[in-house]
């Protein structure tokens, strides 16, 4: 009953905001150059979604995101596990890692365009630099925090170094990676979009940048809404993936005290 009430209030609130916005625009109180009418935005969204060529843009942004995520995670796990297991190397490299991580990624976009061109790969590179560090720090932490008792036990059971990597360290790192799945996929999306926004010939970020270039506020708002939907759908997929992948962990509320 309460849930239904909350939902009703939410819908009423949305209708109120959009309704007064729409009325404001048609009555001329709100300047439609800066705040286009909601109905126009919806129309733009619908005409995009109905247009087959629109999916080319979605497909490109999606490929950049997936490639950025997969490559960034792969490199991050490898580096994180390696440095987690070699504290000495980690100490030596520490200032360099911190310095590189401190660079705001946006400034790298022009350099990647210079190196890799305006196509897909400069965006993937930007996404990789964002995803890499999240995964890297998580994987390193995961490896360092492996329970020493579990480790001793596995060694006594006869595990070789590669057995330990495969059955203890990588799963330990993986559990951290899974817990940072949302964050890092979010970063991959941000990397792809920013890359497209700053210089591209296709993709959702490009759509927004192009509309902006034409002073087409309707296009910008429609692009933002499409982007929000895009992220929401990815989030839903991640939800399913997470539930499938982490079966070994207690779900919230299922935890045993001892």
């Amino acid at each position: 009953m309460q849930a239904v009430n909350v939902r009703l209030i939410q819908i009423a609130l949305l209708a109120l905001i959009l309704g007064s916005w729409q009325i404001g625009v048609t009555s001329g109180v709100i300047d439609r150059f800066f705040f286009p009418a909601p109905l126009d935005i919806v129309q733009q969204v619908i005409s995009w979604v109905a247009d087959p060529s629109f999916y080319k843009h979605v497909g490109i942004t999606l490929s950049e995101t997936v490639l950025g995520y997969v490559i960034g995670t792969g490199l991050g796990v490898a580096a994180g596990v390696w440095l987690g297991l070699s504290p000495y190397v980690a100490r030596v490299l520490d200032p360099f890692i911190k310095a590189v991580n401190a660079i705001p990624r946006v400034v790298l976009a022009p350099i990647f365009v210079l190196w890799l061109g305006l196509g897909l790969w400069s965006k993937v590179a930007l996404a990789v630099t964002l995803v890499f560090f999240v995964t890297f720090f998580n994987a390193m932490q995961g490896v360092r925090e492996v329970n020493p008792v579990v480790l001793s036990n596995t060694r006594i059971l006869g595990a070789s170094r590669s057995d330990l990597l495969r059955h203890v360290y990588f799963p330990a790192a993986a559990s951290w990676i899974l817990s940072s799945l949302r964050t890092s996929v979010g970063f991959a999306v941000v990397g792809a979009i920013i890359g497209e926004y700053l210089g591209a010939s296709a993709g959702l970020g490009y759509l927004i940048a192009r509309s902006e270039g034409n002073f087409d506020a309707v296009g910008v708002f429609a692009g933002i809404i499409i982007l929000a939907l895009f992220v929401l759908i990815i989030d839903l997929l991640l939800d399913v993936a997470e539930k499938r992948l982490i079966t070994w962990r207690p779900k919230a509320g299922e935890e045993r005290p001892a």
């Binding site: 329970n147 036990n153 596995t154 060694r155 006594i156 059971l157 059955h167 559990s175 070994w248 045993r256």
Partner: protein, 273 residues
Amino acid sequence: MSIAARKISAVSQTSLPPMVAIDNVTMAFGSFVAVENVNLKVGNGEFLSIVGPTGCGKSTILNAIAGLLKPAKGAVSIDGATVGGVQNTIGYLFQQDALLPWKTAYQNVELGLMFRGVAAEERRAKVMAWLEKVGLKGFESRFPHQLSGGQRKRVQMAQALITEPKVILMDEPFSALDIHTRHLMQNELLRLWQEDRRAVVMITHDLEEAIALGDRVAVLAAGPRSRVIESFPVDLERPRNVSEIKLDPKFMTLYRDIWASLRGEVEKSYASR
């Protein structure tokens, strides 16, 4: 002191060659000497219990046998071979949860055989047999967090014993369990051990457990620089039932004798904190 000396010498006269020999072992963490000049021998098929106040170095000694820690002085040998690194001819039942949380009961029990390169088919037969032996048939695909404390201990037991180790080390294996589960598990341990007697070194702070399970009880002094102060043979018939044996008059006499020796050390360890 003379009584202690007599008892220790009586023990070292066991006719069998020792499976585990701890010779003059000193264990230190930096400048902190946890145990000093410890001598202990465990015969093949013998069940040795070690008792001592908390923090006296019981786990440290066990880790030296397992090869997880290196003695500062002296040496440990298993079946005649000096311990140089982590041993995998032993089974170690840790006090804490030592199962891999991302593997099921089945996969956890399987580990030792898998690391030894045993074929999947043979592994399967053995794992299923062991899970049944420890009363976990039907729980193969449960993850550790889906098992109770007692069930997790059973999985750990199967995991440690499936490789048929020469020596079984147990560090307060049942201390985290409630009293009923503990009795159940103690009896089960005795049953498994009786089937296939191996050398056992069990640490406990529970004197009743030490006597009920062991062939011999060694008492450690309060730390630091702990050592073995006395060693008591337990001449109670086997097979034993843990809950019933506590009513045996011989058990009670032993309990009184060992407690007389242990009590002073426990008091010392309380006084020093």
